[in-house]
């Protein structure tokens, strides 16, 4: 099975060939590196931008205005913060011009902890992104969704923020991407650039198929009747793992992978919470004005009389950064034990 970085690369290849993507660019995105996480190796429309994040977002907006279809990369979400007003502008362009202009552009950026990235390679951006209306925001938790969401993003008429959980970029999926060869090593030989001199190397792309995960649709990853867990990105597989472990204790958790943060699948959350009466929201962005807080507010306002317990949020600590030392990172963002404990407590709470 492909890992997420390979899935992203294959989706971009598909998008270049079939969806009119004209520019895949950012810092180190083109040859020879093909992206610090290798997500853009071997593609035909890649190019290396100046080390200028504002320039990258601005250029993407201009390219989109003139009829191109750009996929811009900010190398780490930690460096997207100095582009906030341009992101705001991209988000309001259609609205402020009363529908005159729209910007079909994708911004990809790796987010979150998990690679011991220290203070400036561990930021989350999901809560920040949801504060910028006019964007669509997605965040996959497995390679197949990464492929399908990126295909959808490249078909959009509006700006899409594509958040890549960097801890999962090297994790292989359980499901094959349509068209992907059965042998993982064969795939690697075809599309992973060799170490050393790459000047003569060309990717041998598999015959990929159209597969789109619709933006705005979540996925029930594990069905259950005891409580609802809503997550996305790095923490999603941890929630599934916790749910599996707790099943032995008689806790029957339903786990939802939100996949899209905006628009998000409220109908799926609502139906699940109406069934279980208990809701836990899990992500790793800092906990104050966290996107999970919005989901909790809506859950309380709209589903109060279905609830058997107060909804809970497990999120990153409200600290200025994530420290390099193991113990500091582990203490700053949700780990398996934190999620397991929160689920256990929520399931046990009685009205």
């Amino acid at each position: 099975m492909a890992n997420m970085a390979q899935a992203i690369r294959m989706a971009l290849h598909y998008a270049e060939e079939n969806l009119g993507v004209t520019d895949i660019f950012g810092e180190d995105v083109g040859a020879p590196l093909g992206g610090v996480f290798t997500a853009t190796q071997g593609l035909k429309t890649t190019w290396n931008a100046p080390l200028d994040e504002r320039g990258i977002i601005g250029a993407a907006m201009g390219i989109a205005m003139a009829g191109g279809r750009p996929v811009a990369e900010i190398q780490f979400a930690d460096y997207i913060f100095n582009t906030i007003d341009l992101l705001k502008l991209a988000g309001n362009t259609c609205w402020s011009t009363n529908g005159d202009w729209n910007l079909p552009m994708v911004v990809r950026t790796p987010v979150g902890s998990g690679i011991r990235g220290s203070i400036y390679h561990s930021h989350s951006f999901d809560a920040g992104a949801t504060r910028i209306p006019g964007w669509k925001i997605v965040m996959p938790s497995n390679p197949l969704d990464a492929y399908g969401l990126l295909i959808s993003a490249c078909q959009e008429l509006d700006p899409v923020m594509y958040l890549e959980p960097k801890a999962l970029l090297r994790v292989k999926g359980d499901e094959r991407i349509p068209g992907e060869p059965e042998d993982d090593r064969a795939l690697s030989k075809m599309i992973d650039a060799p170490l050393g001199d790459r000047s003569a190397w060309k990717a041998q792309w598999p015959q990929l198929e159209a597969y789109a995960v619709p933006i705005g649709k979540g996925k029930i990853v594990r069905e259950g009747r005891g409580l609802t867990v809503v997550s996305y990105g790095r923490t999603l597989p941890l929630c599934v793992k916790a749910a599996q472990a707790l099943a032995e204790e008689g806790v029957d958790a339903e786990v939802i992978d939100l996949r899209s943060l905006w628009p998000y699948d409220w109908e799926m959350i609502k139906a699940s919470v109406q069934k279980t009466g208990r809701a836990l929201f899990v992500n790793e962005d800092t906990e104050v004005t966290n996107f999970g807080e919005h989901l909790m507010r809506r859950t309380v306002e709209e589903l109060f009389y279905h609830l058997l317990a107060a909804p809970k949020l497990v999120a990153g600590k409200h600290v200025p950064g994530i420290g390099l030392a193991d113990a500091l990172e582990m203490a700053s963002v949700p780990q398996l034990a934190d999620i397991t404990q929160a689920m256990r407590t929520l399931a046990a709470e009685q009205p």
Binding site: P50, M61, M65, T97, P133
Partner: protein, 336 residues
């Protein structure tokens, strides 16, 4: 009648501007000035919340609009403007009533549907990118349209304009960097209209460089500082610069020294500043001296536009505002 000649130019290499064009330039400059004065009046009468505009930049802005290759898509010129360019929009063929509607924030406002300030134009059909309040962001965006144009081929160019104060922003440096990359130099005309003020901050205290155009030299971008108050100079210099960008597919930089005749915006009172050079007065004196137009003819032009634009303002006054429940329209393109 003496034939008008371009000033400061080698006459052998530059043909004189034809009378018809001079008359047209004058007409548009007056139209733009009367429009701005009407917008200020509307603001002062409570028919709008905020005024910002470009009285004082007509000589430059009309020339720019007349020289642009007008149309939609990369074969034509893109304009990433700032909020002092109503004269450019009029020279591109827009009618003043659109700007009046934007001032009155009516639902019929063609640029934003009552959502944005005066002078914040947007016209996809004319390749006019949306004008925004945060100064200089347009400098970061403009290289994108120029990149597509370079790839597209043809002679369409990107034009980006901003003020002198905004050159302190990083986006201005971004524009110089992105436009002049040896990997992909871009067909872009980078313009700074220098009125020597940033709201109330005088440029003398802010600029270490002798000329803003000197900054382009560091990037090997051809550059010039011109008298933006002189219509003939503006037309000739812009024509030459645009031809260079069109054919060479490389950047060019113009710093135009202009006046700010009514201050920064309504925030600074929007009153006429008598000590600044008025490009229209200067142009009219020349037209009269050269026998292109008589004083009476020029007064008639002003009277005609005063009447027409006043009538348009009365029309706009009765037009409805957008409804509150329209806030969710056009967040996304699909909702068109």
């Amino acid at each position: 009648m003496s034939r008008p000649r371009l000033i400061n130019r080698d006459e052998a290499s530059s043909p004189p501007i034809e009378r018809e064009l001079l008359v047209r330039m004058h007409d548009l400059m007056i139209k733009a000035r009367v429009l701005e004065e009407r917008l200020i009046q509307m603001y002062k009468q409570g028919h709008g919340y905020f005024w910002i505009g470009g009285p004082g930049e007509e000589a430059f802005n009309v020339s720019l609009g007349l020289l642009m290759k007008k149309g939609q898509g990369p074969a034509f010129d893109y304009l990433h403007a700032h909020y002092r360019q109503s004269a450019t929009l009029l020279a591109l063929g827009e009618e003043p009533i659109g700007a009046l509607r934007q001032m009155k924030n009516t639902a019929s406002d063609p640029y934003s549907g009552g959502r944005n300030f005066a002078g914040h134009f947007s016209a996809k059909r004319l390749n006019v990118a949306p004008v925004t309040s945060p100064i200089e962001v347009q400098y970061a965006i403009a290289p994108g349209t120029a990149m597509v144009q370079k790839r597209h081929g043809g002679d369409g160019i990107t034009i980006v304009t901003g003020g002198d104060a905004g050159t302190a922003e990083g986006d201005f440096a971004s524009c110089l960097v992105w436009s002049s990359r040896p990997a992909n130099p871009l067909p872009i005309l980078i313009i700074v209209t220098n009125n020597k003020w940033g709201i109330s901050t005088c440029s003398d205290g802010q600029h270490g460089e002798t000329r803003i155009s000197d900054r382009a030299k560091a990037f090997n971008i051809k550059s010039k500082t011109i008298d933006g108050n002189d219509a003939l100079t503006c037309y000739a210099e812009l024509k030459e610069a645009m031809e260079y960008v069109r054919t060479e597919r490389k950047p060019y930089f113009i710093e135009a020294m202009v006046s700010r005749l009514y201050g920064h915006s309504s925030a600074s009172g929007a009153n006429y500043v008598t000590e600044e050079v008025d490009c229209i007065k200067q142009f009219e004196a020349r037209l009269e001296k050269d026998g292109v137009l008589t004083r009476q003819q020029m007064d008639d032009v002003r009277a005609k536009y005063t009447e027409e634009i006043a009538a348009a303002a009365r029309t706009v006054r009765d037009e409805p505002q957008p409804s509150g429940d329209s806030i969710y329209n056009h967040i996304y393109a699909e909702k068109r």
